[in-house]
């Protein structure tokens, strides 16, 4: 084992411009450099419209960068997608209404040609994890928004991908479930060595979960600061430690700097505040 493992994500000078040279051109991301090492949990935080989802979609190879280099697991982002190296949980749950909860979770496993018995077993295991065991045979429209989001997370985790891309996955959850899911995510990551890129609007969430918090600013979207969070093993006491609050303040200060750059509407500021960002 002389060759070091390649970085899970390596972005060099990546830019994404939507509708170039048209009246509705958007410079969504400019010159983004980001490296995520295997096993790391990195959060992206920043005001609405700063390109967090865009960066995640670039890594997922759902869109192509306009310029710059992007490698995932040492190969092209496209190859990583084709090799199904990552699981993804979107901002919206995006469940299929005609499938039961369990069969929604089984979908990626079906695509991997798992046997029915294996799929069943994994689906019920994942449902236990997100505490929805008794809802296996319900349909998504019978669940609350937060419950649906948990199913989507279970689906993303179902095939134990080496990397998870999560876009505000806990936004719709109540505080207690949210903390439970955060702890579960950290447990899964430490057990399986899964790498996570995590988009959130909540500063405490970013600090609690991450090895590093990437602070972004809008128009044009760019990385303004990367805050290291060397808090060690997280537990309930972490949330009350002085070090934790110090990091929260550090991220908040970095975010405050982005406000001048971005022209946040009052509605967006309001939304950020509700999302737990507490910009003021």
């Amino acid at each position: 084992m002389n060759t070091p493992e390649p970085a899970t994500v390596r972005a060099v000078a990546v830019s994404k411009i939507f509708n170039p040279d048209k009246a509705n051109q958007v410079d969504a991301l400019i010159d983004v450099d980001l490296t995520v090492e295997p096993g790391e949990l990195v959060s992206l935080i920043g005001p609405s419209g700063c390109g967090k989802s865009t960066l995640l979609r670039l890594i997922a190879n759902l869109i192509e960068p306009t310029s710059g280099e992007l490698a995932v697991n040492g190969k092209s982002a496209r190859q990583a997608r084709l090799d199904q190296d990552y699981g993804m949980a979107f901002q919206q749950a995006g469940l299929f209404e005609w499938r039961t909860v369990a069969r929604n979770i089984e979908l990626p496993l079906e695509l991997r040609k798992w046997s029915k018995a294996e799929r069943r077993a994994r689906a019920s295991e994942m449902l236990e994890l997100v505490k929805l065991g008794e809802f296996a045979n319900h349909h998504p429209w019978e669940l609350s928004g937060g419950m649906q989001q948990r199913v989507a997370i279970a689906r993303a985790l179902s095939f134990r991908p080496r990397m998870l891309l999560m876009d505000e996955p806990f936004g719709a959850l109540d505080e207690m479930t949210r903390e439970h899911m955060q702890a579960e995510l950290l447990r899964i990551c430490s057990e399986t060595g899964t790498t996570v890129v995590f988009v959130t609007h909540s500063i405490p969430e970013a600090v609690y979960l991450s090895n590093r918090v990437v602070v972004m600013s809008p128009r044009p979207g760019r990385i303004v600061r990367v805050v290291d969070v060397p808090l060690g093993r997280r537990d309930d006491d972490t949330r009350e430690s002085a070090e934790f609050f110090k990091k929260i303040t550090e991220v908040r200060e970095a975010l405050r700097g982005t406000e001048g750059g971005g022209d946040l509407g009052p509605a967006e500021v309001e939304r950020l505040r509700h999302a737990g960002g507490d910009l003021r």
Binding site: A60, R81, Y86, E134
Partner: protein
Amino acid sequence: MGRADDDAGGSAGRLGQRLRRWVLAVAAVAALCGMWEGYKVLGEATDGTVLGWDLPARYDDLSMPHLTDVVARFSEPTNRGTTESVGVSVLKGAWYTLQLAGLGLAVGIAVGLGLAVLMQRFRVAERGLLPYVILSQTVPFAALAPLVAGWSGRFDVLGYEWEQWMSVSFIASYLAFFPIAVGALKGLQSPSPATIELMSSYAAPARATLFKVRFPSAVPYLIPALRLAFASAIVGSIVAEISVGRRGGLGRLILEYSQQASSDPPKVYTAMLGAALLGLVVAGVVNLVELWVLRNRPLGDVR
């Protein structure tokens, strides 16, 4: 838990809705019958002139036979000297027409779905085909029928000679494929970009996306399309039977019976009632299909 109650409430609600629809339908038929007989009574009572206005249609038994006579006619022999009753003839005719229409519908569904998949998959196909699909329906039916009728005996399909009944089914399929193609295309295109992105994040091949996402999403769009296609296939078959001159179906009976209108007025209406009945049966079948395929969907879907 506790959601099971909602479940029951859901299907009960849907059943209640059906029941109300049935009651309404029966009431509408009863009202129609009442108006028919009422019009006759009014005509006879006023001798055709109400407050100085002439009634717009003739009310005598020749033009408007009593409904009881029409119903009674079903159980009487078709012609003097035959043993088969009109009812049996009409049922046989309806069954024959249903078969031709069903075949046409099956072909129409296959072609419509095929075209929709092609158009969804390839932008070029959509741009190239859709105008022709729409254009196909603007060709007057009356112009098409004689053309297709002329095919019989003219050429072979896979070693079989083209027969008259094939022309009937062909016309039925020609009318039926259109709503299916348009509805299916809309349905196949209905999944949100995020849904498609999810599938591409799984590196799912296009075929998997088609069968696991696009087709299930299209189902609510296909039900109304199926309803239209079925109706078109039936009407198309009946008219095609008349213009192609095919014996055995309802179309032929309608033609034959109407030629006897002056001597046997109630008979004309028996064949027409047969056609209406066929339409009802078909609508019922589509409703059952709908109940079955949408049983696991939230109430108040597209439809």
